[in-house]
Symmetry: C2
Subunit: 475 residues, 2 copies
């Protein structure tokens, strides 16, 4: 990691921007657009919500300031293991995989795994995420285990998918390299002192990183959950945290017109209340496509809730949708332009891609092609974004734009933190607990029951007592 002395001025030039013009009546018309007055009416609730958030002090808000030691510990391991691995495999699912993938796609070369010359001795990254047997078997067959590190990530150590992956990978290492080699090839990232994985890590003598108890899976990308694999792949994790800290500073104000997380959150909330429950995130930067997938978990799992804080049944929750420009102009934009008025599109764009791709001039007599010559892919994709934005706006379709000066660690840190805080705010506005996920328990317990986990026999019985299916409804 290069050490940089970064001036405040250059920090400010890397500040991400939020443009909410096209949420307002003056741009999209009065039928769907909001007025400033409607926003102002939310101001007092925003202040209250901010107070409640800061009282709860969810763990993700403490990470930017507290992570110096963690960064040092991670970097020490990366230095110690320099050159030891050709492959780094993350064994985790959901919040223990989506952030890792998002960081890698955003901050490393698009073909990083294929290109030794861009890796410069760093390992390839694999995040199998799912437990599909075809995929997991193929991965293990492909990897030279002698040159592979696995980071097993589970706070409780009870995540069935992750622990199954671990058991299989551990046996493969043990059989091929010897049981005494397990500690050279596995890292455990888990709760500090409770749960199954920390117990296993102690027995096996694994290097261990801690997931703070007050940070939930979907808010954990800036803990070792996301940082370890990032650092192994050459991403500057200190700058990620600096970006988050910078956004934290910008979001100290409770003036909703000045706080990007609160301004965007308020507008998303109002849109939901007015019959627009679909929140589309549409980057026009290929590097941000998996960030949109990470956001999808953050938004859905935090805000999709059956009961509010008083126990009233509310069945609330916007549905996040990931899209991708320019690709989805050829797939989803027809629906966004002409379908129901049920969506808000959040565009992500970048000012400087870092490279230019010039389109050469050719076929001068074929005007339907030759006009492209002399432009660049940069101009084309940026123009298409502006054109789609303008077309949607002309049709009264709500949209906002988040602009990154560049895609780098500092801007990614800002974006991640802003979206996390925005989610916490909308949770408060819905008066729900944005940090739990009670709805996933039932399915898990059925699985535990069927597979014979102690204490879940009653769930197995319940599962087995399900009424039979009607044969004529299976064709």
């Amino acid at each position: 990691m290069k050490k940089k002395v970064i001036s405040e001025q250059s920090r400010n030039s890397q500040r991400i921007k939020l443009d909410v013009n096209n949420m307002f009546a003056e741009k999209v018309g009065t039928e769907h657009g909001f007025t400033r007055e409607e926003l102002n009416q939310l101001q007092e609730r925003i202040r209250q919500a901010d107070l409640k958030i800061r009282q709860q002090r969810p763990g993700f808000m403490e990470l930017p300031a507290q992570s110096k030691e963690v960064v040092a510990e991670i970097m020490a391991l990366v230095a110690e293991k320099s050159g030891a691995y050709d492959n780094f495999v993350v064994l985790g699912i959901g919040g223990s995989a989506l952030g890792n993938i998002a960081l890698q796609t955003a901050l490393n070369d698009p073909y990083y795994n294929y290109r030794e010359e861009v890796r410069q001795g760093r390992p390839r990254l694999f995040v199998p995420d799912n437990i599909d047997p075809v995929r997991f078997n193929s991965l293990l067959e492909m990897l030279e285990l002698e040159r592979t590190a696995f980071n097993v990530i589970s706070k409780s150590g009870g995540t069935a998918e992750t622990m199954s992956q671990f058991l299989i990978a551990r046996q493969a290492v043990s059989e091929q390299l010897g049981a005494e080699k397990v500690a050279d090839h596995f890292i455990a990232t888990t709760s500090k002192d409770c749960g199954y994985l920390i117990e296993i890590a102690r027995r096996e003598g694994l290097k261990t990183f801690v997931i703070p108890d007050n940070v939930g899976g979907r808010f954990s990308v800036l803990t070792p959950v996301g940082l370890v694999s990032a650092a192994f792949c050459g991403i500057d994790i200190e700058e990620l945290l600096a970006g988050a800290a910078y956004m934290d500073q910008l979001c100290q104000t409770t003036d909703l017109w000045q706080n990007p997380a609160y301004l965007n959150g308020s507008l998303q909330y109002l849109a939901y209340q007015q019959g627009k429950p679909l929140s589309v995130m549409m980057p026009y930067v290929h590097a941000l496509k998996d960030l949109a997938d990470w956001y999808r978990q953050l938004w859905a799992e935090s805000l999709g809730k059956e009961v509010d804080r008083e126990g009233n049944r509310v069945n609330v929750g916007p549905t996040p949708i990931k899209a991708l420009g320019a690709t989805d102009q050829h797939s989803q934009v027809q629906l966004y332009m002409e379908g129901p008025y049920d969506k808000v599109v959040t565009f992500l764009e970048v000012e400087d891609y870092g490279v230019e791709a010039q389109i050469p001039t050719a076929y001068r007599d074929i005007q339907g092609v030759s006009y492209l010559g002399g432009h660049s892919l940069n101009q084309l994709i940026q123009t298409e974004k502006k054109a789609t934005e303008l077309a949607l706006t002309a049709r009264g379709r709500l949209n906002t734009t988040i602009t990154l000066p560049e895609v780098n660690e500092f801007t990614m840190g800002q974006l991640i933190y802003m979206l996390e805080l925005q989610t916490a705010l909308v949770g408060e506005l819905f008066n729900i607990d944005a940090f739990n996920q009670p709805g996933v328990e039932l399915g898990k317990h059925y699985t535990y029951g069927v597979l014979g986990r102690e204490g879940y026999t009653h769930k197995k019985k319940e599962y087995e007592k399900r009424p039979p299916k009607s044969k004529d409804l299976i064709i």
Copy 2:
């Protein structure tokens, strides 16, 4: 391509199944579930819709029967070029990319591009799809052009993204290998005798494949658009078409209780009418994740329409969502379980993954982990699917399941054809044109105008006259 003699019996054992039990009141309760009577009331409209579809005879319905010559032509090229290429690149976007990706993910090894031993001399496949300059530059830098084939796919030859990619790639080949080598490295897949690409192909002497004029982009996966790259990567394209033909036979009946495309389409339509506009496709088979993305275009672009056939403004259109089991149990299922009752989930499952991934027994005294031992990833993912299905059903959440005996060419052909016909049916029920996409024109025309294409100066003026943004709404 191995020639197989396949009996009718073995065909039937490979028939995909549709289970709609959990759409009905007896399973999900009367508040959200349908009755058989409600379905029966649609029967006459289904008959009318079927009549209209068969009168229009959309091109995709003719493909299974008419493609023998096309298959032969493709296989002849694959044979001729055997061993010539290490890389096959598809230059296309939307309907000229999503189907290619879906077939590859479904039918080849998950790490095909990395594993020479599974490729057996066949080329790696790259579908850059997007025009992001970072990504496209990186791809061209990485590929050894001497050993690379490009298939340029655009019916009109006017697709700005694809033609830009082509101009850049053609220049790279021309500069590195010599202008006379262009024809050795490019294939054109386009309209037979109109458009810019066929003109270019003639001048350059490119091998050309035809996209039938009556097949739109999102219905074109079983034309050379999808078949050429599939065949180069060893996929049995004849079997794909045989699967589509088999499903076409199953769908000859207009009895909605017997026709899988019509039964599923009717239920999706009823759900939409009853306030459930979100259509989630959630495979519990990693191989089908990109099929869900392909479906996303099919469903959104076909059914998202502003006006009906009589010109009434309807702004209709369900929103397709791709999800992935078991991964999204840790991301989206909380929302599906507890959020608004606005979704129908279509599960995709497979009976036989073709491999087993055994989970070894270990840590016998740690019951929260050891219960996994002795099971397999197959059991785990299949149990999780059934558990999620049961939990959703218990909460009154509508869902259906499509079961594939195996993921192979024959079952994929069935699934593709069924989803296409289902889309056509729902278009009829909405009384809209499912085969156009007028909503994407405005954004395209702005882009043409800004980039200086002849005939679009007025759009440039319109684009430039957009009202200025309020500075205080950009923070």
